[in-house]
């Protein structure tokens, strides 16, 4: 069996097991989740090592670990086809790290544990399935599988105005996937030469499109479907002005769901933007990228400024996610190797960082019962471990060398500035300014809640992290530092994947 299929099969088995366990037996469910999560992590580590081995062994086919496509719907030529390149391997590794840390963070959930983990697993299946798919149909299917559990996860286990946020998030993302479905069908029907067999396979479509372009065929269909597809994924990537679901959704979601959502699910947007929109419609991507550079440029700066004025910790982090995810799309649209590599690095780095942030915020909130930064202060004295971790996450977020954020942002801006066009350069400079603004809101929070006088006498008796919280937080910090200290293997792995994409522009 193909190793990639394990990413879908393991969660499915876990779902089956948990389905059979009685709801009262919470500890057993948690054990199953931890074991399964570790198994997923092991598989992705194994995959990464083997991938690197194969590449260094000189295997230069575009996708590795491909299966013989399994025919599913013959009349539409839909297959179950999987395969990975360096980018998907990085995303799979990221996802499995977030999933296992998310499981540990979810130990704090006491209400309807069984249902919670079932939806959580469905979300993971969607995420993993999306990254391994090479077939547009299954890719889209997994994409939607990942979206819908969010509704119940937020609505049932969330906090604050959860019903409103859950509905807003679901409807906006489903609106995005409505754009997307038109885009995908448009690609499907227009990408083949007359009379040839239509296909949903990404690799074949890419070859067909290149052949069509070379033969001088009319490529104007791309001008309709590229924006639709890009916006469709852009909604999930929190692109301005479609980002409004993100702050509300993240603020209301339970901790682990925020982690998974900001850490992985939003990356689906960025990944889809280049794997589907740009990779399959390169002509329109070059022509129309300016529109989206403007929009994503606004996301970067606007998100950072918004974060400065928020007082709710989760809102601050959600707006910072808007800014950072905007940077991902922004860098992708520069369409050169360095910037795109930086974009993927930023996806990984932001995924880890923001997961760490949300985990810490959840833990702090669990103790102080407030997320308002005006009501907290001096927490460093009572929970030193959590607070030091918070500082580390903050430093990573504002790009301290030695942590992953620096590697990613550095690569992005160096790459992006290589673009000779004046329009692009102006926007790169604008984008750079976000680094400064990031420092403003991160340091503001750190100064306000960690140091200074204690705001609330009740906070003096708070306890520090317990074991499962430490496991989650330390493993995330380890990953962030690992990437920051030796980024080369990762960036090499990613840039190999990027090369195949850059050459078609």
């Amino acid at each position: 069996m193909n190793i990639l299929s394990l990413f879908v099969i393991i969660p499915l088995i876990m779902m089956a097991i948990i389905f059979c366990i009685k709801g009262e037996n919470k500890s057993l469910i948690r054990v199953v989740m931890s074991v399964g999560g570790l198994a997923l992590l092991a598989v992705s580590a194994y995959l990464t090592i083997n991938y690197l081995k194969l590449r260094s062994g000189g295997d230069d086919s575009e996708f590795l670990f491909t299966n013989t496509p399994l025919m599913w719907f013959e009349s539409l030529n839909i297959h179950y086809a999987v395969g990975v390149d360096g980018i998907s391997v990085a995303m799979l590794l990221l996802s499995s790290i977030i999933v296992i840390t998310g499981v540990f963070v979810s130990y704090a959930i006491e209400d309807k544990v069984k249902e919670y983990f079932l939806w959580f697993l469905m979300l993971s299946i969607g995420v993993f399935g999306f990254f391994i798919s090479l077939d547009l149909f299954t890719m889209f299917l997994f994409y939607e599988v990942a979206l819908i559990p969010m509704y119940l996860l937020i609505g049932l286990w969330g906090s604050g105005k959860k019903e409103y946020s859950a509905m807003k998030l679901t409807l906006m993302l489903m609106g995005g996937s409505a754009f997307l479905m038109v885009g995908i069908l448009g690609i499907y029907y227009n990408s083949t030469p007359d009379g040839a067999l239509r296909t949903f396979n990404i690799q074949e479509i890419s070859q067909n499109v290149a052949a069509l372009a070379n033969s001088g065929a009319d490529m104007s269909w791309q001008n309709i479907f590229f924006p639709l597809t890009f916006i469709g994924f852009g909604v999930l990537g929190a692109m301005f002005p479609f980002h409004t679901w993100s702050p509300d959704g993240h603020a209301s979601a339970p901790t682990a769901v925020s982690m998974l959502h900001a850490g992985v699910l939003m990356k689906l947007g960025g990944y889809g933007c280049f794997r589907v929109a740009m990779y399959l419609m390169p002509q329109a991507a070059s022509e129309l990228s300016w529109i989206f550079i403007i929009l994503t440029g606004i996301s970067v700066v606007y998100g950072a400024f918004s974060a400065c004025v928020q007082t709710d910790l989760k809102y601050i982090n959600a707006y910072s996610s808007v800014s950072h995810c905007g940077l991902v799309l922004f860098a992708l649209l520069m369409m050169n190797k360095a910037a795109m590599t930086g974009a993927i690095l930023q996806m990984v780095s932001h995924g880890l960082m923001t997961a760490l942030f949300f985990a810490l915020i959840g833990m702090i909130y669990g103790r102080t019962h407030t997320r308002d930064i005006r009501e907290m202060g001096g927490l460093m004295k009572v929970m030193p471990v959590l607070c030091v971790c918070y500082v580390i996450a903050g430093l990573a977020s504002l790009g301290l060398p030695g942590l992953s954020g620096f590697v990613a942002e550095m690569t992005i801006f160096v790459g992006a500035f290589q673009h000779p066009d004046l329009f692009h350069r102006i926007f790169v400079i604008l984008g750079c300014s976000s680094i400064v603004i990031t420092a403003v809101y991160i340091l503001r929070v750190v100064g306000k809640i960690l140091f200074g006088p204690m705001q609330d006498p009740h906070h003096e008796t708070l306890t520090d992290a317990v074991w499962y919280e430490k496991v989650a937080v330390f493993s995330l910090i380890f990953a962030i530092a690992a990437i920051g200290l030796c980024p080369l293997w990762l960036s090499d792995m990613i840039s190999e994947g990027i090369e195949n994409i850059v050459k078609i522009f």
Partner: protein, 474 residues
């Protein structure tokens, strides 16, 4: 004497046999409702199984000089209509045993009569037979709608139904007479060659489709739908929304392809608008509904819009997606009605607010309802996603990007109100929730099969491929 003409009609004949036995049995053993119902259900199940045994072996055949047509796809549609009727009987079993005790026999007899009418409608090769089928399906239906004799609403619903049905058949007859006047024949294949895009032909088509639009409850011919659905007994509402609607939609597609396919522009240009307003209005009105039966009425109006999106294409792929959509829709919508009727039988509660906190008291029913809502909203991996995707794929193939886009944006609106039901059951809490109860066995069997259908039918590709292989278009 040559019986071959009759043998081709084996579906109809076997149904007539079941019908007559049911009628006689009601006279003889009608006193014992349980035995009678088992007998009727058993006979009808045998009839259904017999229908399925001819799976894939019915050739393209006609009898009575082209009056009656059958083929694999016709047989398939009749089979799944049978299946849906079985579900309706299962969900209505308890109701027939208790509230409807007096008229239990009539319920079965009338339902089967309408089914016979639908068979003829689907299989007609001539407008006259089509019209007879339509009337056979409509008139007993009016009686069924009025079955809750003590309720004024039920009578009102029936009056609305019968008046609009009569009016719509009048409109349709006018259309048919124009077709006869201009084409000189009522046989589909002769209409096909004599049909042009002259004003009179266009008018005839519009009248014809408008008449049928009443049955499928397309906007602007939908005004009877909500009141009738609300007033009718739930078993009948389920039957109306799935079986009656499905057969009419399929019949419309057959006739458009067979009789009017030389000038598709004539009907496509105004079906385009009908689709847009049907989906949109159905959705917008569904948002405001509190009564779940009215809610499902408007939801079924908008679902009909999606079906017509497939009909609109007129291609073989379009027909395959229409039949597949109806097939899935049957499982999904009947699952929803099964839950509603089982709760209504036990507690008599029908409003969305009554469902608050249902998950904590009746988790299984809430789970089935949630699956049905997700499937209606087109969420993967449930079957509804596949049927929607295929319909959109068929329409995109004809280059209808804008239409597909509008329909897709509407799925987002529809998701809003489907999620409202999920929200009520799972997220909201209630001081006075529906207490825990055990549904009767028949309902549970029905719900179990429907749930299974929702979960696996989309994933099993051979079903779609089979339908795709036997469809026809122009």
């Amino acid at each position: 004497m040559d019986y071959s003409n009759f043998l081709i009609m084996n579906h109809e004949i076997s149904l007539v046999v079941v019908l007559i036995i049911t009628l006689l049995a009601d006279l003889i053993i009608g006193g014992n409702k349980k035995v009678f119902q088992y007998l009727a259900l058993g006979l009808f199940t045998i009839h259904t199984v017999l229908g399925f045994t001819q799976w894939g072996s019915v050739g393209d055949e006609t009898s009575f000089g082209g009056m009656y047509i059958t083929s694999d796809i016709h047989s398939f549609v009749k089979n799944f209509l049978n299946l849906g009727t079985i579900f309706v009987f299962l969900f209505g079993f308890e109701w027939n045993k208790t509230e409807n005790q007096k008229h239990c026999g009539e319920f079965y007899f009338l339902t089967l009569s309408t089914l016979l009418g639908m068979y003829l409608m689907i299989s007609s090769g001539n407008f006259l037979l089509f019209y007879i089928g339509l009337e056979t399906a409509s008139i007993p239906m009016a009686a069924l709608v009025a079955f809750n004799k003590k309720e004024r609403e039920s009578a009102e619903a029936a009056a609305k139904y019968v008046l609009t049905a009569a009016f719509s058949s009048g409109v349709m007859l006018f259309g048919i007479s124009l077709i006869y006047g201009t084409c000189g024949s009522l046989y589909f294949d002769e209409v096909l060659v004599n049909f042009f895009d002259s004003p009179l032909h266009i008018m005839a088509t519009i009248f014809f489709i408008a008449g049928l639009g009443f049955k499928i409850s397309l906007v602007p011919f939908h005004l009877w739908t909500a009141d009738t659905y609300q007033g009718a007994p739930t078993a009948v509402t389920a039957y109306l929304s799935v079986i009656s609607k499905g057969s009419a939609a399929f019949a419309l597609m057959c006739i458009l392809v067979k009789a009017f396919s030389n000038y598709p522009d004539v009907w496509q240009s105004f079906l385009w608008w009908i689709i847009v307003i049907t989906i949109t209005i159905g959705n917008l009105f569904a948002i405001r509904q509190e009564n779940l039966k009215r809610f499902l009425a408007f939801s079924s109006i908008s679902q009909a819009g999606y079906v017509i999106l497939g009909v609109y294409t007129g291609t073989a792929q379009g027909m395959a997606t229409v039949v597949f959509y109806l097939f899935i829709y049957m499982f999904t919508n009947l699952a929803a009605f099964g839950v509603i009727s089982s709760i209504e039988n036990k507690t008599g509660r029908l409003n969305m607010d009554d469902y608050n906190g249902l998950y904590s008291t009746n988790p299984k029913l809430a789970f089935v309802m949630m699956l049905a809502m997700f499937s209606l909203g087109g969420i993967p991996i449930f079957a509804g996603f596949f049927s929607k995707f295929f319909i959109f794929a068929a329409a995109m193939r004809e280059g209808e990007t804008l239409l597909v886009f509008i329909a897709l944006l509407n799925t987002v609106i529809s998701l809003f109100y489907y999620l409202k039901v999920v929200k009520a059951m799972f997220i909201k809490t209630s001081e006075n929730p529906i207490e825990n109860f055990k549904s009767d066995n028949m309902t549970r069997i029905g719900l179990f099969i429907c749930t299974l259908g929702i979960l696996v039918l989309g994933l099993i590709s051979p079903i779609y491929e089979y339908i795709n292989g036997i469809s026809f278009g122009f």
